[in-house]
Amino acid sequence: MKYVLFFLPLIALLNHPEIPSGEKAFAVHIEDAVGDSVQIDVQLTYNERQQPEYYFCHVETPVCKEGLCHILVVDLYWDLLGNFHKYELPKNRPLTKFDHEEFTEADYEKLDNILADKRSLLGEYALEDLVDESTEMVSQEVDAVTGATMKAVENTVVSGAVYSTHALWHLVNGKIPQRIPTHTDSLWSDNMLRQFLASDHYPYHYHALDLLSTEKFAQHLPAIVRLMNESSVFVSRYAIKKFPEALSQDSVGQATLIQQFSSSDFRTQEIILNKLKIVPLHKSSLAQLMGQLDQLSEQQLEQVLAMLLANSDNLTDATLSPVVSLLDHANPAYAKLALQTLQPLAQQYQQLNSALQNYETTTSNR
């Protein structure tokens, strides 16, 4: 404690990085390494368009080992959902290890990775556990017996800076990010919704999609389609999963989904088919879908042909023709599925009879 008090007056003399402007969002209280309760004010910064941009705080906190402390001075930034963004250090005040050796580039890189790992073992372990080899629950990350504890610690902290790493991780992943989403939601508006959908930050996409009503989904469809086309494949899938049933009954909604189908990966296609199979399909939708039969896997083909049967009152020659063509498919399973689909439709659509008779003649001759 004496050590801390001795150094505190010096803090004012340190060079700080330029502190961004913002408004106070909220405050949290944390217990520092010497047992004092410290208030940290968290600011919300805005960009030039006056949109919320980052949460930010300036922290000065003691980091101690066996009674000897030094002051860690750092500025921390999170995005609007509490995901850690970056830290900044005062000029001439780099991070150091116990022997006052400065962090290397590799140390900083490792620290970045550690701080970004919300599930780090540092969340489960008290500081003293990190230097305690007798712990039973060793690691989620290593597959080794001997020295497993040490390996776990090595992966979780910057070597020689266990205490700084621990302190920083708990600041970055502790109370502050827990409070941020609530504060952001309290500011939620149509402008923010647009901001989130237009951003290139995946967590914002998920958040916006979670908050959309059916009405808002339809209203923001162009922005959502942009996500489907340009965002991560996982966001794209999520957007389609969130596609409201009411919208997928509509011809525009169906066209949107079917348009995505051909350019999507298999898992996304699977989600699209699951959306379409529970609604009545329009003639144009059926025709578009049947135009892609040859590109489908057997499993998908089975699903799509089931949709055809479920919408049997809504078929046209254009819809049926690709199915008839499948009767000659090189994969016998495809031909069989086509046959099983067309046979029950033959009474309703008599133009199928000649194709089916032709198929029977051909196969019996082979």
Binding site: R119, E136, M137, V138, S139, Q140, E141, V142, D143, A144, V145, T146, A148, Y202, S232, V233, F234, V235, D265, F266, R267, Q269, Q295, L296, S297, E298, Q299, Q300, L301, A330, N331, P332, A333, Y334, N365, R366
Partner: protein, 616 residues
């Protein structure tokens, strides 16, 4: 060591083009002018494999091996063979294959070639992931002596089980599993008597660490031993085909004599998935076995049948994975070191699979409800950095990644793992391997094409096509090892093999689960540390098949205890113990249980005796 033909032809060209000709007489053949002819060819019997690999991992499901074009994205050289058609003329061609990645269409395309003439049909991208016969059109066979070839088009794991040529245009080969099995057996002549491969004191099935150690241990005690392995190399998960390093300690043993054979086989620790396969010491293992006069080694032989007499196993029948020749191995004692517990399963041994409930075992680490969860299978891989850049194609049929989620690693380690109850590790071994391949290729494609040049000079050096399986059946013995046995350090009078590994039960990594629910391919674990403890001898023999030993991952434990016993140095020591016990059995004409009941002191004395230090 004695080597019996033809199983010694490891890595060499097989001298016999094993093609079976069968002329079918069909009264209903209305379109044929004369009796139709039929030629059935198993692709694994091609004389030259080119770059294609024999895959027997699904033998128990398919009843056959097949050829696999494992080129890591580069087309492999043709597999070729010469066949004798019964007559020239027009034949209908049938090809038994599948689309291994119908998402929606896979990459494993290939052509069939007759006398350097490619048939027009491209196989392997049908969109169907079931093995089936596909019609390949009609071809004019102008000379009876014809060269066949399989021509890979992509290097992405196209596969072909068999080819069939028939002059009968009304004939469609069977797809239904039972019918196909009968058809295949008829074509291959498998209903006839298997070749006698000898009679042994101890027949060891499985040439991984446990089986190899069991065979060596038994042989050194003077037993006449057959060692049967279904791959061309010994070592199993520690071989160059799988590349998992040996774990578990041998220097903390209650009986230090155990572990010395393991040490002889140990080629050092290259880690998991080292790009240099030589470091895993296939040759060392083979050399140690070859030095044993009492061992008859049968590589490339998959055991798929047992013969029983008076409730005991009297023989196992194995089929050569290339030639399909069947062999009968008779014996007094049998050791199931297959990992899957295949011999025990075929013999009707009691077994468990999946997790027991906490109520059943009383183990704190057991789940509330029993389930089918098992640890997964790893297909390890490695890239190496080259002087010049290389390309790798986009892989739309593989698992898809983005900057939001991908695995930024130049090689694999143990975490690359599929299973976890999503797939059955025995009946769906092929699907598990293929899921692993889709993860590997999809991620690698992402790294090569979307990481701003970081991996430009990296090239895939090796991808395992043989899965490193962790868990399948556990055969039950007179004792079932539990978590309490391990954590209490219970020392039973028959405690023989010292184990040291943590209770290491993998589960899907949470982030991987978030992005790929139900399709996870990346694992995490929690190590529960243990003090060295001993595995009782009663875990090493079947409780209801009297002459059956087991060693390796299929011994008698709960799922939780298996989490600790499963590592390969420990498995090897189980094998050593089985070899010693088998020698006591022979001395007294006793069964494994009787050794525990009547001769335990002698067995303990045997593993306690001093032994001359083995030169490494």
């Amino acid at each position: 060591m004695k080597l019996l033909p033809p199983t010694v032809n490891v890595g060499h060209a097989y001298s016999i083009a094993y093609t079976i000709l069968l002329v079918l007489v069909s009264a209903t053949c209305v379109f044929s002018q004369s009796q139709p002819s039929l030629l059935f060819v198993e692709t694994e019997s091609f004389t030259e494999k080119g770059g294609w690999k024999i895959d027997q991992q699904s033998f128990d499901v398919m009843g056959s091996s097949y050829l696999l074009a494992h080129g890591m994205g580069r087309p492999v050289a043709d597999a070729t063979t010469t066949v004798q058609f019964p007559e020239t003329g027009a034949y209908h061609v049938w090809v038994r294959t599948k689309d291994w990645a119908p998402f929606p269409k896979g990459p494993g395309t290939f052509h069939v070639v007759l006398n350097n003439q490619e048939l027009p049909t491209e196989f392997g991208a049908s969109g169907s992931d079931e093995w089936r016969w596909y019609y390949g059109g009609e071809v004019a066979v102008e000379q009876t002596n014809t060269q066949l070839a399989l021509r890979d088009l992509t290097g992405f794991n196209g596969r072909c089980d068999a080819l069939l040529f028939t002059t009968d245009n009304s004939f469609t080969p069977p797809n239904e599993p039972q019918q196909l099995m009968g058809f295949r057996q008829a074509q291959l002549g498998l209903t006839e008597e298997p070749t006698d491969a000898g009679s042994y004191d101890l027949v060891v099935t499985g040439g991984g660490m446990a089986g190899t150690c069991a065979a060596i241990s038994g042989a050194r005690q003077g037993l006449k031993v057959a060692l049967i392995q279904n791959r061309p190399v010994l070592g199993g998960n520690n071989s160059s085909e799988v590349r998992v390093h040996l774990m578990g300690d041998i220097d903390k043993n209650y009986y230090p004599k155990l572990g010395r054979i393991v040490d002889e086989l140990d080629n050092g620790d290259p880690g998991n998935g080292n790009p240099d396969g030589d470091q895993y010491g296939d040759e060392r293992k083979l050399a140690v076995v070859e030095a044993e006069e009492n061992i008859s080694l049968f590589l490339n032989t998959h055991v798929d049948q047992v013969e029983m007499k008076d409730g005991k196993i009297s023989a196992v029948i194995g089929r050569n994975i290339a030639t399909n020749q069947e062999y009968r191995f008779s014996g007094e004692l049998f050791a199931d070191c297959t990992g899957d517990g295949t011999v025990g399963f075929l013999a009707g041994a009691d077994y468990r699979a999946g997790r027991e409930s906490r109520e059943e075992t009383g183990e704190p680490l057991a789940p509330e409800e029993a389930d089918n969860f098992t640890l997964g299978t790893s297909n390890l891989w490695a890239s190496v950095e080259k002087d010049t850049p290389s390309t790798f194609p986009e892989t739309p049929w593989a698992i898809q990644f983005s900057d939001e989620y991908h695995i930024d690693q130049h090689k694999a380690d143990w975490q690359w793992e599929t299973g976890f109850g999503n797939f059955n590790t025995i009946t769906e071994a092929e699907q598990i391997r293929d899921h692993n391949l889709r993860a590997i290729y999809g991620n690698w494609s992402y790294l090569k094409n979307h990481k701003d040049g970081k991996y430009d000079n990296h090239e895939l050096a090796w991808v395992a096509y043989i899965g490193g399986k962790r868990e399948s059946r556990r055969l039950l013995g007179d004792h079932i090892l539990t978590q309490m046995d391990i954590q209490d350090g219970e020392m039973y009078p028959d405690g023989l093999v010292t184990a040291t590994w943590t209770i290491d039960l993998h589960f899907p990594q949470p982030e991987n689960s978030k992005y790929f629910p139900g399709e996870e391919f990346f694992a995490a674990t929690k190590h529960i540390r243990v003090q060295p403890y001993t595995i009782p001898y009663r875990c090493l023999y079947s409780r209801n098949v009297p002459n059956l030993f087991m060693a390796g991952r299929d011994i008698s434990t709960t799922h939780v205890a298996f989490g600790s016993t499963r590592v390969m140095r420990t498995c090897g020591m189980m094998g050593e113990a089985v070899g010693y016990a088998a020698s006591v059995c022979r001395k007294y004409d006793a069964q494994p249980r009787e050794v525990y009941e009547q001769h335990l002191d002698e067995l303990v004395d045997l593993v306690s005796e001093d032994m001359i230090e083995v030169q490494k």
